[in-house]
């Protein structure tokens, strides 16, 4: 597949195009991180994050790329790794402790939310993630999910969101979140 075909597939939400890109440029992106004091695990994580960033931008079909996909991915990887190196360099022990304290509190809350997301049905999860993460329109969601029309998709999204909110709130009182 050439770059235009890849972009077209990603615009329609075809995740197989993402698999193709991942495999095609894996060694090149991993080499970038490894050659800059990174491990293969870190390189893999950085490359996946970069691909997801590219996916978020490219999905919807409105993304205009002026360079090759490999060049764009390479620049994303480079920026992400630089940020990671800066974060590692700036992070002191005290900062680690304090941030850890904060993270523990938030992590608990996030865990509750994730548990509730998992309790949702697959359709609700897809609709909500397509909407909030992939940035798909109701028309695209309807087409992808094979709904009758965009309004059906919109209604579905509303109901799924309401259900999620209810699940989360049922597990914790409002006072827990205020704390």
């Amino acid at each position: 597949m050439n770059d235009s075909e890849i972009l077209a597939r990603i615009g329609k939400g075809d995740e197989r195009a993402l698999d193709y890109l991942y495999k095609k440029y894996y060694r090149m992106m991993v080499k970038l991180v490894i050659s800059n004091n990174g491990s293969e695990g870190e390189a893999k994580d950085i490359y996946q994050d970069a691909l997801i960033v590219f996916w978020q931008k490219a999905i919807g079909g409105k993304f205009t790329l002026t360079s090759k996909i490999s060049t764009y991915l390479y620049s994303i990887c480079l920026n992400l790794w630089r940020k990671e190196l800066d974060r590692k360099g700036k992070l002191s022990n005290e900062e680690k402790d304090s941030s850890q304290f904060i993270e523990d509190d938030k992590e608990e809350r996030v865990k509750i939310i994730n548990d509730c997301i998992n309790e949702l049905g697959e359709t609700c999860r897809k609709v909500l993630t397509y909407y909030y993460f992939d940035g798909m329109s109701m028309n695209e969601i309807a087409e992808k999910m094979e709904f009758a029309n965009p309004d059906t998709a919109k209604t579905k999204k509303y109901k799924c969101k309401q259900r999620l909110d209810k699940l989360i709130k049922s597990k914790y009182s409002a006072s827990d979140f205020l704390d």
Partner: protein, 285 residues
């Protein structure tokens, strides 16, 4: 939201705690949904078979190392197999030795019939030769262990000196007016201290190119030079250490090597003690 709506909303967030709590909850929910989707995509990418970046290199290194080792091994084997095979030369030399006929001088046609290995030849056969015109004597003496010293001295290297030509030969065994040279049988039979007859054959060869040479082949000594016209004596010692032979010719003694298969000049003995012993043995006869 428009700019004014956003500004009003932010002011309400600061003043209304419930609104703020709900806002933060919704932020967390959306963030969690995004994280969930991101994790889902990353999980999908983890399933894609891209191999290991380091593993490929390790495999390449192993393959490369194996190839290099195999090439080095083949090279060593190739060059080792190119070394000259000395065993073939050795075999050739041995074969050369085993085929002495190639190195031998031309022999009379009667020779093949007379070639025998380790055969005891009676003196009568040894001394009788139709082509021999000079008188020669052979003495076989059996000595005791006292001759071991002489035998050991016989192995010493001596200078080769061309014998002097003598005008006359004094020998009591020689019969005057004799046209044929025959060793007196009686004298030979009653040799001093003799316990047996000589087992060595002697043959004279006229060869101007190899004057005063000898060789030993097939239990026979071949003397090259003017041995037909000038008499000579062969002195044989048989001791526990083995057999030793000496040639007495024109007043000088020469050592005869039993294993001398190649033609070589007769080595003259210069050791005075050995010469005295040999003289005493000759006198005893």
């Amino acid at each position: 939201m428009s700019g004014e709506e956003m500004k009003a909303f932010e002011e309400n967030l600061q003043t209304d705690p419930e609104l703020k709590a709900e806002f933060q909850l919704q932020q967390d929910i959306v963030n969690s949904l995004k994280a969930y989707r991101k994790a889902e995509l990353k999980s999908r990418l983890d399933q894609v078979n891209v191999g290991s970046y380091g593993g490929n290199l390790t495999g390449l290194k192993i393959a490369f190392t194996t190839a290099i080792t195999a090439a080095v091994g083949l090279g060593i084997y190739y060059f080792a197999s190119q070394e000259p095979d000395n065993t073939a030369n050795k075999v050739h030399l041995e074969e050369t030795i085993d085929i002495p006929a190639l190195e031998m001088e031309t022999l009379p046609q009667s020779e093949p019939a007379e070639i025998r290995a380790e055969e005891i030849v009676p003196l009568e056969e040894v001394e009788v030769s139709e082509t021999t015109t000079g008188a020669h004597l052979e003495e076989a003496k059996t000595e005791t262990a006292s001759e071991n010293e002489i035998a050991s001295n016989a192995g010493a290297k001596v200078n080769v000196i061309t014998p002097k030509v003598i005008e006359s030969f004094e020998g009591d065994q020689l019969e005057e007016n004799s046209t044929e040279i025959e060793a007196p049988k009686n004298k030979l039979e009653e040799g001093v201290g003799s316990e047996g007859l000589s087992t060595v054959e002697i043959e004279n060869k006229d060869d101007n190119s190899n004057s005063f040479h000898y060789k030993f082949y097939n239990n026979k000594f071949y003397l090259y030079g003017d041995f037909k016209n000038i008499p000579y004596e062969i002195i044989e010692f048989n001791t526990v250490s083995g057999k030793s032979l000496y040639l007495y010719y024109q007043g000088s003694y020469y050592y005869l090597e039993l294993n001398q298969m190649e033609m070589t000049p007769l080595p003259q003995i210069n050791e005075e003690k050995l010469i005295e012993e040999l003289d005493s043995l000759r006198v005893k006869k």
